[in-house]
């Protein structure tokens, strides 16, 4: 990181407002979600718990920055409860303080990761109802994500279709560390439905998943886990391109959330190089891999890249395209980015409004 940077001009346009593509709403109590489950599953969770890739309910594979498991230390609501569980305080600390015009909810509850897949489907439905009930209904600046149990494609499609027509849902949410790489055909029916309804699919980097956080297994430290997030999203991207998902669904929109973006250019260069030599292995991939990257993928910005020389951010931006990046805070997590200070270089006005607002407004059709 270069010199103290707080004295530079503010990045986000204070007049226009900011779209935050990554807000994590929380339950006020551990049992809050159970209130949204039907009686059958409520009893199941009471007696057998909601088992997932998490070793123990309520913990993470890499507990972090405790107390609070990785929350901003200043994010505990004054009226009690965990960070981001209190709408009034979220309004004050995030929406008002950071001038957020729209915030996209990214619930990280375990519905998509439950070992019992029927329970997973019920949890996803409950989480989706809860997002509306607790957040998007009382606060129109907050928009919801359709959480799906992606390993059960039929249940996923039923869940998506049950939310069509409710414009408070602006994307489909699925985790990147799926049972099989995201490009495999088992997931294609979900992509077909997403394209049909023109709903972007957001893949948020996950602290847990069906698979370990690195291809060689579980890393020793949280510091490794934190950036291992990038490789799970690289796997998503490469798999979807090489399996031909975008030939089948050319209008499919994929948002890679919280996985960084400085790796995007080099992955594109490498895939293009291999494609020029070995495209006969994947003849269904008809174009340069980087062309799909430019048309079908978007990236959220947090945690913002901090190159040794701040000005190198310009190069990364230019390679990726300012039309592909969308600002995010990750509130209330510890690695939160403040829209006023996250970019350590001044941006052109057009780039600034694209990244902080307009790209998300148009992708999620926010109004």
């Amino acid at each position: 990181m270069e010199a103290p940077v707080i004295e530079r001009p503010q990045q986000a346009d204070q007049q226009l407002g900011v779209v935050d593509c990554d807000v994590h709403p929380a339950f006020s109590t551990p049992t809050e979600l159970a209130n949204y489950l039907p009686a059958r599953w409520k009893a199941h969770v009471r007696d057998y718990a909601a088992r997932s890739g998490n070793p123990l309910l309520g913990t993470l594979p890499y507990p972090r920055i405790s107390p609070g498991n990785g929350m901003r230390r200043d994010s505990w609501p004054p009226n009690g409860g965990p960070p981001a569980s209190d709408l009034d305080f979220l309004r004050e600390q995030l929406l008002e303080e950071c001038n957020i015009e729209f915030g996209i909810l990214q619930p990280l509850a375990a519905g998509s990761m439950a070992f019992n897949q029927e329970l997973g489907a019920a949890l996803c439905t409950a989480i989706n109802d809860w997002q509306i009930d607790k957040w998007a209904e009382p606060e129109p600046r907050l928009r919801a994500s359709i959480c799906i149990p992606q390993e059960d494609v039929k249940a996923s499609i039923a869940e998506i279709e049950s939310r069509i027509g409710d414009n408070r849902f602006v994307q489909i949410a699925m985790p990147p560390r799926t049972l099989e790489p995201a490009g495999r055909k088992r997931y294609w029916p979900i992509y077909e439905v997403a394209q049909h309804y023109d709903l972007p699919i957001g893949l948020h980097t996950g602290a847990f998943g069906y698979r370990p956080n690195t291809p060689a297994g579980w890393s020793s430290f949280y510091i490794e886990e934190h950036f291992a997030a990038s490789n799970s999203l690289q796997t998503v991207m490469a798999s979807m391109i090489m399996e031909g998902a975008f030939e089948a669904f050319p209008k499919l929109k994929i948002v890679l959330v919280e996985g960084g973006f400085s790796w995007v250019p080099s992955l594109g260069w490498r895939m293009d190089r291999e494609w020029k030599r070995m495209r006969d292995e994947v003849p269904h991939v008809k174009r340069l891999p980087s062309e799909y990257m430019r048309e079908n993928f978007w990236y959220t910005t947090q945690p913002i890249e901090e190159p040794e020389h701040n000005r190198h951010l310009y190069d990364i931006l230019r390679w990726i395209g300012a039309d592909r990046l969308m600002f995010s805070t990750d509130y209330p997590h510890w690695d939160f980015d403040d829209p006023r200070y996250a970019f350590k270089v001044p941006l052109e006005p057009a780039e600034k409004s694209a990244i902080f607002r307009d790209n998300a407004i148009s992708l999620f059709k926010l109004s």
Partner: protein, 150 residues
């Protein structure tokens, strides 16, 4: 209470500002104070008081809300040394560690640092004698006060 003194006799006039009663800030605790429009984080480190600018130079979080920690070092794998207990504050967001005594960050001390202010503890009796004037604090002769020079 503040007063204009300028012991060095050059540069901008510095003011001495009474910002807290000594017993307001427990050992290991902090207090946010405002002096001449600046937000300043005041710390009590084992009975000694230190003041640094409140805003983290990285993304602007309030350092007064940070966790007070020790310095952790290791000369070789498996050997960990803790020292300087209570002398560093970690930013409440991204965890940058700042030396409460100097305002310098541990990882990037020359470039990422916050301003450090001179702090003194004065008795109420002495403050009442002047040359200070009461602004915010009603100074009692029998109490002791933290004074920041800005």
């Amino acid at each position: 209470m503040s007063a204009q003194t300028n012991p060095a006799g050059r540069g901008r006039q510095k003011g001495r500002h009474v910002v807290a009663r000594v017993d307001e800030i427990a050992d290991g605790a902090s207090k946010l104070v405002h002096v001449e429009g600046r937000a300043i984080a005041l710390f009590n480190v084992k009975g000694e008081f230190f003041a640094i600018a409140n805003r983290c130079p990285h993304e602007g979080a309030d350092l007064c809300k940070g966790k007070i920690v020790a310095l952790i070092e290791s000369d070789e794998p498996g050997v960990v040394r803790l020292s300087r207990h209570g002398e560093l504050v970690r930013c409440p967001w991204h965890g940058w560690e700042f030396d409460i005594r100097t305002g310098k960050s541990w990882c990037d001390p020359t470039r990422t640092r916050v301003k450090s202010y001179d702090v003194a503890v004065e008795s109420g009796a002495r403050l009442v004698e002047g040359p200070y004037e009461a602004e915010v604090y009603k100074v009692a002769v029998e109490d002791r006060y933290v004074v920041i020079e800005v």
